[in-house]
């Protein structure tokens, strides 16, 4: 790791001020991606601003039809939260499958979203559930947040403070994990809103990161069942191909994980 300056922010305002002072500063949440990248010398921030101990950024709140998870809440705490399990059990299940236990004890929802790894789990849930990403500057609809590989709508110095999820009528997530990294080789999140709208997303599959899957959405709108996806064909165009699987293999995984996600949703 190259030399850097570490700062522990006491508040979100303090973090923003520390960020502005650095020449090439980065925010650090759980560090489960940023630190490995820095160790590989693929990132060399002048300053690292630690958000992990800001109390206002930790916790879960349920109110009416909205579940709000603050940005520095760890995957473990989301998976264990009674409020999350009650409101959106699929989200607790998703959090319980990220990485391994030690990673879940440190990694955070805000960090995962700000990084927007094309194989990360949370983006699939945020996009499928039509969540809102709250930041220090504004509220960003999930549809406007994800901008391709490792790219988001966040501006320099903008900090995610929380994510608000509308509680769906039904939701399910199924992932085929890479056996070594536990990242999604392909993961599919399906959700039916209380108004009856259906959204389905896939992570790990597309060359441009998390994506909606219109073919699955249309089939489920007509008939919410795993069987309804039997005749669906997913195009391999634009899907990732690497040593772990071809684009055609991933296209088939999108369909199979979609079926499993619907079964899990009930």
């Amino acid at each position: 790791m190259y030399e850097t300056h570490y700062h522990r922010a006491s508040s979100v305002d303090d973090a923003a001020a520390l960020f502005a002072k650095g020449t090439d500063a980065k925010f650090l949440a759980g560090g489960q991606t940023l630190l490995p990248v820095m160790k590989q010398r693929l990132a060399a921030p002048s300053d690292v601003i630690d958000l992990g101990k800001i109390k206002d950024l930790i916790g879960v709140e349920a109110s009416g039809d909205t579940l709000t998870i603050k940005a520095a809440t760890t995957h473990y705490d989301v998976a264990q939260s009674d409020a999350v399990r009650k409101a959106i059990p699929a989200l607790a299940h998703l959090a319980s499958m990220i990485g391994d236990p030690a990673v879940r004890h440190r990694g955070t929802i805000g960090g995962s979203l700000a990084n927007n790894d094309p194989a990360a789990d949370y983006p699939a849930a945020v996009l499928a559930l039509g969540a809102t990403v709250k930041t220090t500057k504004r509220s960003i609809a999930a549809d406007d947040f994800f901008k391709g590989l490792f790219a988001t709508a966040l501006e320099d110095g903008e900090i995610i403070t929380a994510v608000s999820f509308p509680v769906p009528a039904k939701a399910g997530y199924a992932k085929f994990p890479n056996p070594a990294s536990r990242f999604a080789l392909t993961g599919v999140f399906v959700a039916k809103t209380k108004a009856g709208d259906v959204r389905a997303t896939a992570t790990g599959a597309s060359q441009s990161g998390v994506m909606r899957v219109p073919a699955i959405e249309q089939a489920l709108k007509a008939n919410w069942s795993a069987g309804a996806l039997g005749g669906v064909t997913i195009s391999a165009n634009g899907l990732l191909a690497d040593i772990h699987g071809s684009a055609e293999y991933r296209a088939n995984l999108v369909k199979v994980m979609g079926q499993r996600a619907v079964t899990a949703a009930g």
Binding site: T4, R8, L35, D50, G52, D100, A102, V103
Partner: protein, 161 residues
């Protein structure tokens, strides 16, 4: 350079380190606690697992500065004097190690698993929860046996207290 103050195995310490220092480097190089190992250095193998405020974490994926004010337990902090922790004893009794390189991380992860699941441990849970710890010798079979054995010993010990 910054001074990081934390508690390691019950002892308060203050250590001057470069800001880029990882927790595992502070433990091994500044405190000479070399029981915690570095295997892959890419957050995958789990040889560096320690407990920070009671939770298993990969100490190669945490800056020393992030541990400021925290309570850290390493493999050296488990035994009570000459009496091995039940997890350590179970690894010995069940032949849960061969070369021993992964063992400190395995044991710290395993203790964390038992703390979180209590008496509800079964083989499938143990295998699933050890995903973040890699062993190239044992084939995991005796490690899983050791964790299940220790879980029942720890339950008995807790009931006796």
């Amino acid at each position: 350079m910054s001074t990081v103050k934390l508690t390691v195995n019950g002892r308060a310490v203050a250590v001057d380190v470069e800001d880029r220092t990882l927790l595992v480097q502070l433990l091994r190089e500044n405190l000479n606690l070399t029981g915690t190992h570095v295997g892959c250095d890419t957050s995958q193998c789990g040889a560096c697992v320690v407990h920070v405020d009671g939770r298993a974490v990969k100490s190669c994926t945490m800056l020393a500065g992030q541990a400021e004010g925290c309570n850290v337990t390493t493999i050296e902090g488990l035994a009570k004097g000459d009496e091995l922790h039940p997890m350590q004893a179970a690894f010995r009794d069940n032949h849960g190690l061969q070369c021993g390189y992964c063992t400190p991380g395995m044991i710290m992860s395993a203790v964390d698993i038992v703390h979180r699941h209590g008496g509800n441990l079964d083989e499938e849970t143990v295998r699933h929860e050890l995903e973040g710890n890699i062993c190239r010798c044992t084939g995991y079979h005796n490690i899983v046996k050791a964790v299940l054995d220790a879980a029942s010993r720890m339950k008995v010990a807790q009931a006796a207290e």
